[in-house]
């Protein structure tokens, strides 16, 4: 279990050294090799998580209606880009640099360490140069890369909930604030070594820090944005079926794939047998929790509705993944089935509840990321090594902060430039209204063949 997503590495490095002194040199992993392996782990797991941006894009493209598909594609590639830039500009520093209890440094930009540049630029690398670089345990930019992709995930969650009616630019502005301030600040409390970390709150890969955070921000937005026109008009709910379920399925598989990077990489080190073994355990728990989520959703929808609902089963897989994310280091894999299954069940039940509350969540991001994320975080206090009270504190602290700030930001956006397209534009679809094109110009009603 890693309290601090960064500090731990020092530990790892130390452990490497211990082993080194203890064991015959020839048997252990050398410091430089550990450095390379730790760095490569960040890069490999980082590119896996990066692909989750594509996963979200496909999931959401499949679950919106055709007339809003191009807009959601644009939002997804835009948010991934903006989140990365803002995290480079300031986010990372607020999250990890000189973190006190509540926030890091306001310094701008984050670049390679002088030690690394010295080594890279050296005519002839001296022993000391190497040692100084290796001392950090991993390359600084590999860590930045791995941390960066998490921010984008948080932003992706928001886009799914608010799809089909939010204007593009206000959404982008919210992403700027989310990735530059909201996410990094709350994350510094735990992974940055802030007060939640000291409190003993633990979140291995971000059920709360990443997924619930996205969920809370989405909830605040959905509340102020309102439901899609006609969604809750008159009696009951008017479904607006997703237009392309194979894409939604692809997106879910890609997210599942990326999650091995999300959780596996959060072991944060690969420089020792201990880390390698622990990482493998994380992979297995991640996969089993998702599998349990799918099966749970299949059975539940069959029983509740008399038919399996594919979209709910996809949600189930993701809910299982979100739930296990806070503690994928469970040492008895059977518990991963339990955690994932319960997470999926909660998501399945949460979907109609949200509709009752007239909170319109287009892709089910709130049930999946917020509800299952809370459950997963608390589960660490039940099955895992964490304390329930500490876990609960973390959930509440992050929830209150993110919801409050997001609400204010959304509110200001709404009051100023406005966040919602006009009724006509909504009827016409965001693709034509905001992008002036169509996602599938040759299919169905809008066909440009005519």
């Amino acid at each position: 279990m890693k309290l601090l997503k960064k500090v731990s590495l020092a530990a790892a490095a130390v452990l490497g050294v211990t082993a080194l002194l203890a064991a015959p040199a020839s048997a252990a992993v050398t410091d430089e090799t550990a450095f390379v392996l730790n760095t490569f782990s960040f890069l490999v797991h980082g590119f896996l998580v990066m692909l989750m941006a594509a996963g979200f894009a496909m999931l959401e493209s499949g679950l919106v209606r055709t007339k809003n598909t191009a807009a959601i594609c644009l939002k997804n590639i835009a948010l991934y880009s903006v989140a990365g830039i803002m995290f480079y500009v300031i986010g990372y520093n607020l999250m990890y640099v000189d973190v006190g209890s509540y926030i890091g440094s306001f310094s701008l930009l984050y670049n390679p360490s002088d030690a690394e540049l010295a080594l890279i630029n050296a005519e002839e690398a001296t022993d000391e140069m190497v040692a100084e670089v290796v001392g950090n345990g991993y390359s600084v930019m590999s860590d930045w890369f791995f941390q960066m992709v998490f921010v984008a995930t948080t932003a992706s969650i928001v886009s799914g909930t608010l799809a089909e009616r939010i204007k593009v630019w206000p959404f982008i502005i919210f992403v700027v604030i989310l990735s530059a301030f909201i996410y990094p600040i709350q994350a510094s409390w735990t992974w940055g070594g802030g007060f939640l970390a000291e409190l003993g709150f633990t979140d291995f890969a971000g059920s709360t820090l990443v997924h619930s955070t996205g969920g809370w921000a989405a909830l605040a937005g959905a509340f102020l944005l309102g439901a899609r026109t006609g969604r809750y008009s008159g009696a009951g709910v008017r479904p607006m079926p997703g237009a392309n379920l194979p894409l939604a399925t692809l997106g879910t598989f890609v997210l599942w794939f990326g999650w091995f990077g999300f959780n596996g990489g959060s072991q944060l080190a690969l420089g020792s047998a201990m880390d390698a073994a622990a990482m493998a355990i994380v992979y297995v728990n991640t996969n089993l929790a998702a599998a349990a989520g799918v099966v749970t959703a299949m059975i539940l929808t069959q029983v509740l509705y008399g038919k399996m609902d594919l979209t709910m089963c996809l949600n189930g897989a993701l809910a299982g993944l979100v739930a296990i994310t806070a503690g994928p280091d469970l040492q008895n894999h059977f518990l991963a089935l339990v955690v994932g299954g319960i997470g999926a069940a909660l998501a399945v039940f949460a979907v109609p509840v949200l509709d009752k509350l007239k909170i319109d969540d287009v892709v089910g991001a709130i049930p999946v990321h917020l509800v299952a994320g809370i459950w997963g975080t608390l589960a660490v206090g039940i099955f895992g090594s964490g304390s329930f009270v500490a876990q609960l504190t973390g959930v509440v602290a992050v929830g209150v902060f993110v919801t409050a700030v997001s609400f204010v930001v959304w509110y200001v956006l709404k009051a100023t430039i406005g966040i919602r397209v006009s009724a006509e534009e909504e009827e016409m679809g965001l693709d034509r209204a905001e992008l002036g094109l169509e996602a599938y110009p040759e299919f169905g009603r809008g066909s440009q063949k005519l």
């Binding site: 009827e427 002036g436 094109l437 009603r445 809008g446 005519l450």
Partner: protein, 112 residues
């Protein structure tokens, strides 16, 4: 019997259907069409090139009704489909010589 062809805005379909059902129209056939008329299509820009989409999406409703209700049906469709904005559409009435319900073989008014 009258063969009514109504071209309306897609958003009006449900309203029109319900209105017709209320006056006892038992059936209708609907298709997605493209319309060209006074409501000009819109200009769009794609990869820097501007172009005109000449046709606008419309819904065509075909319903065969008894002589008696034809006028009422037309008025009802008109009032329900109206949005006062350009492109509301048209209603045409043709004469239908015969109708037959395949399932039962009934003909004439019974077939509607």
């Amino acid at each position: 019997m009258k063969y009514i062809v109504a071209i309306i805005k897609p958003a009006k379909l449900d309203a029109v259907r319900e209105a017709l059902v209320d006056i006892g129209v038992q059936g209708m056939t609907v298709s997605e069409v493209k319309g060209f008329g006074r409501q000009m299509g819109h200009k769009e820009i794609y990869r820097g090139a501007e172009y005109e989409v000449a046709f606008v999406p419309k819904i065509k409703i075909e319903t065969v009704v008894d002589e008696a209700v034809a006028g009422q049906a037309v008025d009802l469709i008109a009032s329900t489909a109206k949005s006062e904005s350009i492109g509301d559409g048209k209603i045409f009435v043709l004469d239908a010589e015969s109708a037959l319900r395949i399932r039962t073989g009934e003909t004439g008014a019974e077939a509607l």
